[in-house]
Amino acid sequence: MKPLPLVLWAAGLAALAAVPWLGSRFYTFIATDIVILALFATSLNLLLGYTGLVSFGHAAYFGIGAYTCAILMKTHGVPFPLALAAAPLLAGAAAAVFGFFCVRLTRIYFAMLTLAFAQIVWGICFKWNAVTGGEQGISGVPYPDLGWMSALPLVGSLRVGEQYYLVVLVVVAACLAVLKVIVDSPFGRMLTVIRENAERAEFVGIDVRRYELAAFVIAGAFAGVAGALFAIFNRGVFPDFAYWSKSAEVLIMTILGGMGQFWGPAVGAAALVLLNQQITAYTQYWPFVLGVILIVLLFAFPGGIVGTLVAAGRRLKGASRA
């Protein structure tokens, strides 16, 4: 696939940035949710789609990032830029420790060990009352000081939630750009080689475990950024952030959107958030509807939303050429 031209990047970013002016406060809220989860899902896809590692515990690093940011900002009054920088550092460090053990395992055992570590993180968040607030979590995480924005034209008149959305958008766009550079780099290609045939990769002298660990740490760090952004957006952090159901949710987003494509997980995140929001308005049986959607999708869109669209686009192109 050709890399998406820079113009399209800019156009997409501009369209998203316009949401606070075009839509209501509610749309900005939904858009913030989507943009943050898009980063979370894309970070998982570095493992899932590019390296072929199925993690059942990616929420651990999201949770660690969220708690790091919340504890630093709420308990210690650390300014936002520092807290935001600390989140991926801690999440990445945790991913390095857990990943060291996980990458020595394969397939389902790898998945189960990532799950075990994530549940241990959840247990710590749940029980370590003095630091994490235990079951109650930490509420009242402050918005960052965005006073400097008030001096700017246009942006100055926005509410703080909308200004924060713009900050989120910039941070996520930067992270996605870095991730895109990573997957297109020789390092990223190497990950794909490992996904396709780890044994052969080893034969030609690639230190498979080291590459897998590197991917695990990078994915964990970016999940940490997403968690930090989410902690402020949500105005609080709760043990559920690291719970296995959160890991399942991000897995579903990634597969729903299409793990074979860079933009798949982001589209999956948007689809899931919008669907959830639409359907819960009509029925309390959202899990049932989601289950049925997933089953239909599995049979009707085998490559996920973006994968199927790309394949259809190719067929169309082929047909017009013929």
Partner: protein, 295 residues
């Protein structure tokens, strides 16, 4: 607090937990061993078995020996449901990446959880013990309900039965062959398609049976499906996926860790099981009695 009869009581409670888990996890392990599908919906089948048993007991009359009929009926209905799901849907995903099969079984979890919530509501339901097993006996100073003794006897009985089926019968040989090389087996003229359906139904039967048998001991609540599937996963992973005796061993260890974890570290019992799983996987990457999987 740590007098011998108390410790023995904990040991017995751990053992009965282990036997329940073995019943359920053996079905999970069987399905994984033959079909190479890790079935998230196994816990949902367990939940369905429990709710169906409750329903049948209501119809047949509580506090009578018809409890046993209800248990069997519930397990058979669940087995039939498993067969239908495998035949109609899952079968078509065998050629795809295993992640898609996982996603499919997870979707079934979501659907069945809401079906149960819609049908039976969210209040706690309980089933009385059958009159024949209503009493309790005193063993080494600890009071053990007869029903618990029954479960503790049933576990090993089913384990041996399973082992005989797998190792000593023609069907068992076919099942083991299917676990090793399904293409070769179908080339030899065995109808593997129906073999898979049968195995999935059999595995589901054990989930349903476990769910139905647990009703006199635990109350039925939404979320019991997810709780048990996580525990069953831990059991089969500790023991080694697809290894029959590994599942038995895993269940025994898990039951004791749970029973004594609550006594020793009440604050940390939530994740004692996950610490156990992490520790086992770090030392033995394929579980205690498992074999390495090809990548």
């Amino acid at each position: 607090m740590f007098d011998p009869s108390f410790l023995f009581g904990q040991f017995v409670s751990g053992l009965s937990t282990a036997m329940f888990l073995f019943l359920i996890a053996s079905g999970l392990s069987l399905i994984f061993g033959v079909l190479r599908v890790l079935n998230f919906a196994h816990g949902s089948f367990y939940m369905l078995g429990a709710y169906l048993a409750w329903q049948l007991v209501q119809w047949l009359g509580p506090r009578t020996e018809s409890f046993w009929l209800a248990v069997l009926g519930a397990a058979l209905i669940v087995a039939a449901l498993g067969a239908v799901i495998e035949r109609a849907l899952l079968r078509h995903l065998y050629g795809r990446e295993e992640l898609y099969q996982l996603l499919f079984t997870y979707a079934v979890v979501l659907v069945l959880a809401d079906v149960a919530r819609y049908t039976w509501g969210t209040q706690q339901l309980t089933v009385p013990r059958p009159p024949s097993l209503d009493g309790a006996v005193n063993v080494l100073g600890a009071t053990v309900p007869l029903y618990t003794l029954f479960i503790m006897a049933l576990g090993p009985l089913i384990a041996v039965g399973f082992w005989l089926l797998l190792e000593r019968t023609g069907i068992g040989r076919t099942i083991r062959a299917a676990a090793l090389d399904r293409e070769m087996l179908s080339a030899l003229g065995v109808n593997t398609s129906w073999l898979y359906t049968g195995m999935f139904a059999l595995g589901s039967f054990f989930a349903g049976l476990g769910g139905a048998l647990v009703t006199p001991v635990r109350s039925l609540v939404p979320g019991m499906d997810v709780e048990i599937i996580v525990e069953a996963f831990i059991v089969v992973v500790i023991g080694g996926l697809g290894s029959f005796w590994g599942t038995f061993l895993g269940a025994l260890i898990f039951g004791q860790v749970l029973a004594f974890g609550i006594v020793l570290f009440p604050r940390f019992s939530v994740f004692a099981a996950f610490v156990l799983m992490a520790a086992v996987l770090i030392v033995r990457p394929w579980g205690l009695l498992g074999r390495p999987l090809d990548r």
